[in-house]
């Protein structure tokens, strides 16, 4: 049984915590206090629900993918359609929640980091909606591979600041967003895009994303489904924890997190739980891709949203507690799954979500008819078609 975590110090077992400069400690303590209050505040929760329904497009459907199910010939595969949300991914659940939180705290400016650009777009959207100034940090390399989302953010009125330091990807964008926040903490809220970072971020992002699992649970109950597995991709882990958390005490349901295996687990990858060791990055203690000296290693995934050397602390805890299983699939496998879903179901998945789908190749043979396997389709793939086209071109 997974207890009511995190504890008062923001720890999930030994993971998590608040490893940040003193400058932002008071802001984190303030955020925690305000959030714990709003968490129980009917009016706030009602307002949040209203935006999620009327604006973001909740509830999303739990779609039975018959042609995909038939392809595997075992359990029925259901897709939790987060790709149908406004802006095209689950990220909007969290962005709206945090923007409302920022307003309650009297902040006028928000900073965010982004990898694939989905969280950046979601944050820029929520800021446009609520009239907050928005600055999004994005690695130079990611700006190149996710150009469409850069345009979208700019259209929405956000300033996109390129980050050239380090590897020029999500890790460095996150560091820059935190540095900006440290400097401007008095009027600025940091809208982190995943269930990582210092406490209380892993908690509040998990709460805002748990709507995914809660809805799934209710929809499955209504249809009388016998769920055997829930599957989600894991970058920092927000869509996965949002799916897993409401099922945490359903022991008969296996939770499977799918990490980015990149070019292979013995080559370049971003499979943090599979290949990393516990360490400290971006304010929390969790699994980390690092060398023997404790230097953070460059990671690689074709999917910009999974190209991150850390992972949320709650996943580190689930892993150690055996509450979830974390596997990895390669770029090639994700691309195959991307093509398969597109052809069989007419749904173009985000490359991140395609990782979750790719796990079906190994998961489905162990299932039986009559069971339901749920895959979190965290986002749509419009942003990725150019990448995929290029990738396939290179392969031919």
């Amino acid at each position: 049984m997974i207890k009511g975590l995190p504890d008062k110090r923001g720890k999930f077992g030994g993971f998590g915590g608040r490893f940040v400069p003193e400058t932002v400690m008071p802001a984190l303590l303030g955020l925690e206090k305000e959030y714990l209050k709003l968490r129980r505040d009917r009016e706030f929760q009602t307002e949040l629900r209203r935006w999620l329904r009327g604006y973001a497009g909740r509830p999303t459907t739990l779609y039975r993918a018959d042609r995909l199910s038939k392809h595997y010939g075992r359990a029925a595969v259901y897709l939790k359609r987060e790709d149908l949300l406004h802006t095209g991914a689950h990220k909007i659940n969290n962005a709206i929640g945090q923007a409302l939180l920022a307003l309650r705290m009297g902040k006028t400016r928000a900073v965010a980091e982004t990898g694939a650009g989905q969280h950046g777009v979601a944050a820029a959207t929520a800021c446009a909606l609520f009239g907050l100034n928005c600055v999004v940090y994005m690695g130079e390399e990611d700006m190149e591979r996710q150009r469409l989302n850069v345009f979208r953010m700019r259209m929405l009125g956000a300033e996109v600041r390129p980050v050239a330091s380090g590897t020029g990807t999500l890790k460095d964008a996150t560091s820059e967003a935190i540095r900006d926040w440290v400097a401007n903490v008095r009027d600025t809220h940091y809208i982190i895009g995943t269930a990582a970072g210092p406490h209380p971020y892993p908690l509040l992002v998990r709460d805002f994303q748990s709507v995914i699992g809660r809805e799934t649970k209710a929809q499955a109950a209504k249809e009388g489904l016998r769920i055997s597995k829930v599957i989600a991709c894991v970058g920092g882990g927000s869509n996965a924890i949002g799916m897993f958390f409401p099922f945490r005490n359903d022991r008969s349901i296996e939770k499977i997190g799918v990490e980015a295996g990149g070019r292979g687990l013995d080559k370049e990858n971003a499979a943090t739980i599979n290949r990393g060791r516990p360490g400290f990055l971006h304010g929390s203690y969790s699994y980390l891709m690092q060398d023997g000296e404790g230097q953070v290693l460059p990671v690689y995934s074709l999917s910009a949203g999974l190209d991150y050397p850390g992972v949320g602390p709650e996943h580190a805890y689930y892993h150690e507690a055996g509450a979830a299983r974390y596997m990895a699939v390669t770029d090639d496998e994700a691309i195959e799954a991307f093509k398969l879903l597109t052809r069989l179901e007419g749904i173009i998945p985000a490359l991140e979500s395609a990782h979750a789908l790719a796990s079906l190749e190994t998961v489905m043979p162990g299932t039986a008819p009559g069971e339901a396997v749920i895959v979190c389709l965290s986002g749509r793939g419009d942003k990725d078609v150019e990448m995929v086209e290029k990738y396939l071109g290179g392969k031919r």
Binding site: R9, G17, R18, F19, V20, P21, E22, T23, V24, M25, P26, A27, S165, G166, K171, S175, I178, R179, V182, A183, N184, V185, R186, G279, F280, L281, H282, G283, L288, Q290, G292, E293, G294, Q295, V296
Partner: protein, 259 residues
């Protein structure tokens, strides 16, 4: 009784110099430290490079990355400390982030740092609430873990942090934001130091934003010591250890005038 670090910052305005270990290489870095001490630095911070220095601005980020690229490691940095200890009595602190220390092993690091003659650690990503990841091991070896206060801290936190700090100095952040010479001081800094004074048993040093003799003097007007990092490392990058010497001398002269 005052510890060695605190003693070095008492009786005159103190000067604390930060240099990234292994930048541009270990030999030049060693010369730079010894030159800084000779030119009037009272305490030395040796920066143990980390790939993701969250509290550092562009200058120290780059120095850290360059040092790592040139092959800096924790072992080599401890050996540097050991060599420095043979040649100078000035207090030596290691400034880094928790991950490289944890990867080395906190207990092992404390033991080897103490053996190398290190007097304390500065870990900007370890706030008061998380100190127990390292404090026990360091204390056992007689090493200080420096406490931070910031313009955002508020009196209650300042009081608690200062009251608990027993050795070394109080590291007072001159402004919100990262290390780097530009930007000057936060208006709240003077008040921050004044508040800290009421509760601290230790010297108070101001860092983040001290770029030259003028800002050093400004710091010394209300604090006991000035900490200089980015500006010094920039001098080292541009003009080698000789430039570090003349830079530190210019700060020393100004601080001695404040007395």
């Amino acid at each position: 009784m005052m510890d060695k670090i605190a003693r070095a910052l008492t009786g005159k305005k103190g000067l604390i110099a930060y240099i990234t270990a292994g930048f541009p290489d270990y030999a030049e870095c060693e010369r730079a430290v010894l030159t800084a001490v000779g030119a009037g630095a009272d305490v030395i911070e040796i920066g143990l490079p980390f790939s993701d220095p969250l509290a550092d601005g562009p200058v120290l980020q780059k120095a850290s990355a360059d040092a790592l690229f040139a092959g800096a490691t924790t072992e080599k940095t401890l050996r540097l400390a050991n060599r420095l200890r043979q040649k100078t009595a000035a207090p030596l602190l290691i400034m880094s982030y928790i991950n490289p220390i944890a990867a080395f092993g906190v207990d092992r690091f404390a033991a080897e740092a103490a053996a190398a003659g290190i007097d304390g650690l500065i870990l900007p990503d370890v706030p008061e609430e998380e100190k127990d990841v390292a404090a026990g091991a360091l204390e056992k070896r007689g090493l200080s873990l420096i406490s931070f206060i910031a313009p955002t801290s508020g009196e209650e936190r300042i009081a608690a942090i200062c009251a608990r700090a027993r050795t070394g100095f109080i590291y007072c952040l001159a402004r919100t934001g990262v290390t780097g010479a530009g930007g000057g001081f936060d208006q709240a800094t003077e008040n921050l130091v004044r508040t800290a004074r009421q509760y601290a048993h230790l010297p108070i040093a101001i860092g983040f934003g001290i770029a030259d003799a003028k800002t050093a003097r400004q710091a010394a007007e209300y604090a006991d010591a000035a900490i200089v990092g980015s500006a010094l490392v920039e001098n080292l990058r541009q003009g080698g250890h000789q430039a570090v010497g003349s830079f530190i001398r210019s700060l020393r002269r100004e601080l001695d005038r404040c007395g």
